[in-house]
Amino acid sequence: MENSFLIDSDKLSAAALKRKHEIENDKSVRINHMEFLPNMDKLDNDIYDKLVAASTGVDWNSYTKDDVLRALRSETLTIDDFKALLSPAAKPYIEEMAKRAKIETSKHFGNTVYLFTPLYIANYCDNYCVYCGFNCYNDIKRKKMNFEEIRHEMEIISKSGIEEILILTGESPVYSDIKYIGEACKMAREYFKNVGLEIYPCNIKDYKYLHECGADYVTVFQETYNSDKYETLHLLGNKRIFPYRFQAQERAILGGMRGVAFSALLGLTNFRDDALASALHLYFLARKYPQVEYSLSCPRLRPIVNNDKINPLDVHETELCQILCAYRIFLPYVGITVSSREEKHFRDGIAKICATKISAGVSTGIGDHEEKYEAYDSNMDKESLTKELENDECGDEQFDIADKRSFDQMYKDMSDEGLQPVLNDYVYV
């Protein structure tokens, strides 16, 4: 089964619609996704070649029970051991994997769980990524917050108690230029202890500037590491250039960022291939830059505005749990973030096994924290909230979230689970 991503808006002109269909149906009108554009920094190294050599053409059914047990008995895992833990043969051993993962997590992180919140400051996007709510052809309410609005949002979030913020934008260097994002970072430093970015990949000098503005962590999702599949999903915009995105974390490191985060969007193609490649992307960079803090995320596909059918296909909760336990056992020292794409019961459970960071008080819309926080406080149902938000000045969401708990509720729930919620463990130097 496949997701059907392509949606035509009735607001597009005949010419625009024609162009959209051309791009969707005719590969020859799309630009070469493997070639850097002239303004893009290009790093000359063999990390991608190493990744391809280690992660492509894996026969997942060749792994056996013995391979899984050997991996679980090893103190440090080889790449092949890691593959065994991702394979179907490991699924019956999920409880053993979880037990081992929990031990590794407690050695490196104790019983802590970090809390943060994302803040989307703009949802304009130049890319056409067929699965994403922000894609340039999707008919959604667009918004770029001005600085007064950003400050207001930050005040509200900060008042809730959050100390770590992740600033996000749609990928439009035109609407959300580096200067604009930099100003948002400077403002965030006034309200929060820790500022991270999840924005379009940029050049080293831009990362350096954003670091000077106060950001220290950069998250870039590769979405899928299968470049052929990538080409069929990312049809327009800078994001189409697969290797430029692949090198984003390394450019961020060279720009002075303390930490970088990685992920594939699970459900786009063979999830085992993508989980393997995500971890190895991190692994090879960590060998080159051992001083950097690394983390992995694990987003699964979610429904978006105008397409509520999108789902993560065969990546069920059990598979996701298997992937995360395998990550933890193979890379015991890395952070693992589980976003509000997952439901409460999953996040509560996985935080006790291997997740080290979860979001709380989340909105993936633009400029709507105040209304949403009030609505969640008063337990307003989803339909009334949607109506409430329809008439106002907010921008639409990137995807539909599954866990709407407020910061207070999350802090309490994590404490009740026997975990120690941590709001900050960082100092900008």
């Binding site: 050695k107 104790g110 051992p290 001083q291 950097v292 803090e293 941590v422 709001l423 463990d425 100092v427």
Partner: protein, 255 residues
């Protein structure tokens, strides 16, 4: 005679130090109540938080804080974090931790020596976390360190005294208290380090990951005290095989 641990001119009865970077509140309670800890480390970056979550509130008032510079990647950053610690009311004690590896968190001795020199000159009581190397330990002593804190094994590993011989050399050769830090996994290992002449033991994971935290904390207290007493008593000789012949080999000598 009273046997006190003296660091930076201050006297302590306990030779157990809780390395509490992970801030398990049960662990802090057990360390103070069951292990008698009088010193608890505090990551400055973790204390860098809002009033609503002030870590200082969780630490009993009669306990001395030992702020650490974790997160520093070079001497310059460690110095800045130490300054921040002073601003936050962390006092003059500072444990210098400088790591350039996020996987094993091994200390960088070269940068640690640089930071120790700067901070000692500024009046800090500097306790540097280091990889057990004699030359580095001597340089740290010359730089003004108040104690030397060599690691026994990679942090969090519970692997025990894997660097035993090198720690013994530092204890023998450097005239500063040596606090064994990181890697101690069992009370018996803490006891062994104390028998060797270590001045104190810093420990976290061994207790934090035990099934019963308070009981394990108490086990460490007893082991450290036993090891200290054994050291002060002077260990008896170890009989070597074949060396106890009743007839002296030199009995034939006439004059």
């Amino acid at each position: 005679m009273e046997d006190k641990l003296i660091l930076g001119g201050r006297e302590f009865n306990s030779r157990f130090i809780l390395g509490s970077g992970k801030y398990n509140l049960d662990l802090i309670k057990a360390a103070v109540e069951n292990a008698g800890a009088e010193i608890i480390t505090l990551a400055v970056r973790r204390a860098n938080t809002k009033d609503s979550e002030n870590i200082m509130d969780f630490i009993p008032k009669n306990v001395t804080l030992l702020p650490n510079t974790s997160g520093a990647r070079d001497a310059k950053e460690a110095v800045r974090i130490a300054h921040l610690s002073r601003e936050l009311g962390g006092g003059d004690f500072v444990k210098v931790e400088i790591m350039k590896d996020s996987k094993y968190l091994l200390p960088d001795n070269v940068e640690t020596i640089k930071a120790t020199e700067i901070l000692a000159k500024e009046g800090f009581v500097v306790l540097p976390y280091m990889y057990p190397d004699l030359y580095s330990a001597r340089d740290l002593a010359n730089a003004g360190a108040a104690a030397i804190m060599p690691l026994a094994a990679p942090i969090g590993s519970n692997k025990g005294l894997t660097t035993k011989d090198f720690i013994q050399i530092i204890i023998d050769e450097v005239d500063l208290p040596v606090i064994v830090d990181a890697g101690i996994g069992k009370p018996s290992e803490a006891c062994a380090a104390m028998e060797m002449g270590a001045a104190a033991i810093m420990c976290n994971t061994a207790i934090a990951t035990a099934k019963d935290i308070p009981v394990m904390a108490n086990a460490f207290k007893l082991a450290i005290e036993a090891g200290r007493k054994a050291y002060l008593a002077g260990l008896g000789r170890v009989l070597a095989r074949g060396s106890e012949s009743m007839d002296p080999l030199t009995g034939f000598l006439r004059n």
